[in-house]
């Protein structure tokens, strides 16, 4: 069975730092199981194994930074290596190769594989805080149960001010957005939508539910965009090697701002086919994990288009930037009371502005308009099947 390699978790990623192993030699691993935590510019990502097998050796110690494509662990069955499915590569000659390169043969002078020592026992929040503060857990005295390191222990251990941890992420976002604007011929379409009926439905529903089951407006936005992708699939997919590749599924990337100025847009999978309450639960969970640094590698590479819902920020119109290699992004602004023509009179209505930015190599104003019209139609009504 092939070696497990440091995956590429985004078009810009060149290296990652192994934070912690979640498996030991001898463990049986299922496909999709989280096997390690890797730190990238986007924060700590839980990396899943893309195949099943039994771990025979861990090749890289926690705390080590290695280039994308480096073998991290050996599984039973030998050292043959096949690259895991890479994310769709960005169509740009200047970007580094996304597919991991073939590793050196086993007999090469690699460092002798050692079973990694058990990492210091620490609560998940302690671990994340330690990474945020740049504190080495091995140097922290744990006062928790059985000497485990607690959040307070880490805060005490941070003796000196450390470099801004989110500066790296801002650089990555800046690079990606710059390249997007340079290389993708964006066109923009926008429309205003009277969402009063949908909001009334939402308020009535939330009033009758305990707080844990209430819906945020953004869930309705996700659903509207997902269903529009089903109707107009020309906006759902990737621009790869000079052509548009339509995606088979609809995975809506939700743009989530992080404290400290970072931005991630992980995927809400199969957003078009999930019942609303399931979608709501997954959206809340995704936002929480994005902000606590617990996203999974598949969530970063799977979006088929992105939604940026900035109503909370108080903006009226969003002019979003496409996340390559996607070909479209939807921006939704805040709801405002606006004069609206109803029949022969003018009434105040709850109105928001939805904007589509799309790649003109992959779609034209015609399909873009059809897509936006469907988003608008869905936003205006309470959710229909």
């Amino acid at each position: 069975m092939p070696d497990f390699l440091m995956p590429s978790l985004g078009a810009d990623m060149e290296a990652g730092r192994l934070v912690e192993w979640r498996v030991r030699p001898g463990d049986r691993v299922e496909r999709g199981q989280v096997v390690a935590e890797v730190e990238t510019d986007k924060g700590i990502i839980e990396v899943e194994s893309w195949q099943a097998g039994t771990v025979s050796e861990l090749l890289v110690q926690p705390g080590t930074s290695v280039p994308v494509g480096t073998p991290l662990a050996r599984f039973d069955g030998g050292a043959e290596t096949i690259a895991p499915p890479a994310p769709p590569p960005v169509a740009s000659p200047a970007s580094p190769p996304v597919a991991p390169p073939a590793p050196p043969p086993v007999a090469s002078p690699a460092s002798p594989p050692v079973a990694s020592p058990a990492p210091p026992r620490a609560s998940p929040s302690a671990r994340r805080r330690a990474t945020e503060l740049g504190v080495d857990l091995a140097a922290v005295a744990g006062t928790g149960p059985d000497g485990a390191i607690t959040l307070a222990d880490v805060e005490r251990g941070a003796a000196r001010p450390v470099a801004d941890p989110s500066a790296a992420m801002r650089r990555v976002v800046a690079a990606a957005m710059s390249r997007s604007k340079r290389e993708i011929p964006h066109y923009y379409l926008s429309t205003q939508v009277d969402v009063g009926a949908a909001l009334a439905w939402l308020d009535a529903r939330n009033a009758a539910l305990p707080i844990e089951q209430r819906l945020l407006q953004v869930v309705l936005h996700v659903r509207a965009v997902a269903l529009a992708c089903v109707k107009v699939p020309e906006l759902n997919g990737h621009w790869v090697e000079g052509e548009f590749r339509r995606a088979e599924s609809v995975h809506v990337g939700l743009a989530i701002t992080l404290r400290g100025g970072g931005l991630v847009a992980p995927a809400l999978r199969d957003a078009a086919s999930k019942p609303l309450d399931v979608l709501a639960k997954e959206t809340n969970d995704l936002i929480l994990r994005a902000r606590t640094g617990a996203l999974r590698s598949s969530e970063l590479t799977e979006p088929t288009l992105t939604l940026t819902s900035l109503g909370d920020a108080g903006v009226e119109t969003v002019f979003p930037i496409i996340h390559p290699p996607q070909v479209a992004i939807v921006g939704i602004g805040g709801v405002r009371s606006r004069p609206w023509v109803v029949g022969a009179s003018i009434e105040p209505r709850s109105v928001l502005t939805v904007t589509l930015a799309a790649d003109h190599r992959a779609s034209s104003g015609h399909s873009g308009s059809a897509f936006l019209a469907e988003v608008a139609r869905r936003l205006a009504e309470p959710p229909q099947p």
């Binding site: 939330n206 009033a207 305990p210 707080i211 400290g260 809340n284 920020a313």
Partner: protein, 87 residues
């Protein structure tokens, strides 16, 4: 629950929900959404944790009108005081 206890609980909950936001020194008039930069997800999470802490649900209409730090402290102090005893 006294107002001071309620304020400490609220500040601690805000710190957990929005790491880096230190509400200790902020005045009662501080707006949760504008001044503490909490978005709708943060507010939902904050209210969910507060409802657990006080032992009862916070209705949606209350969530909407709790815009300031002070109003939320008052609400928590009163709600926690009137919750039925555990057991």
């Amino acid at each position: 629950m006294t107002r001071d206890e309620a304020r400490r609980l609220l500040v601690a909950t805000i710190a957990r929900v929005a790491p880096g936001v230190d509400a200790v020194a902020l005045p009662d008039s501080a707006d949760l959404r504008r001044d503490l930069d909490l978005d709708s997800f943060d507010v939902l999470r904050l209210m969910t944790e507060l409802s657990r802490a006080i032992g009862r649900d916070i209705p949606d209409r209350d969530v909407a009108r709790l815009t300031s730090l002070g109003a939320t402290v008052d609400y928590v102090a009163e709600a926690a005081g009137s919750a039925p005893p555990p057991g």
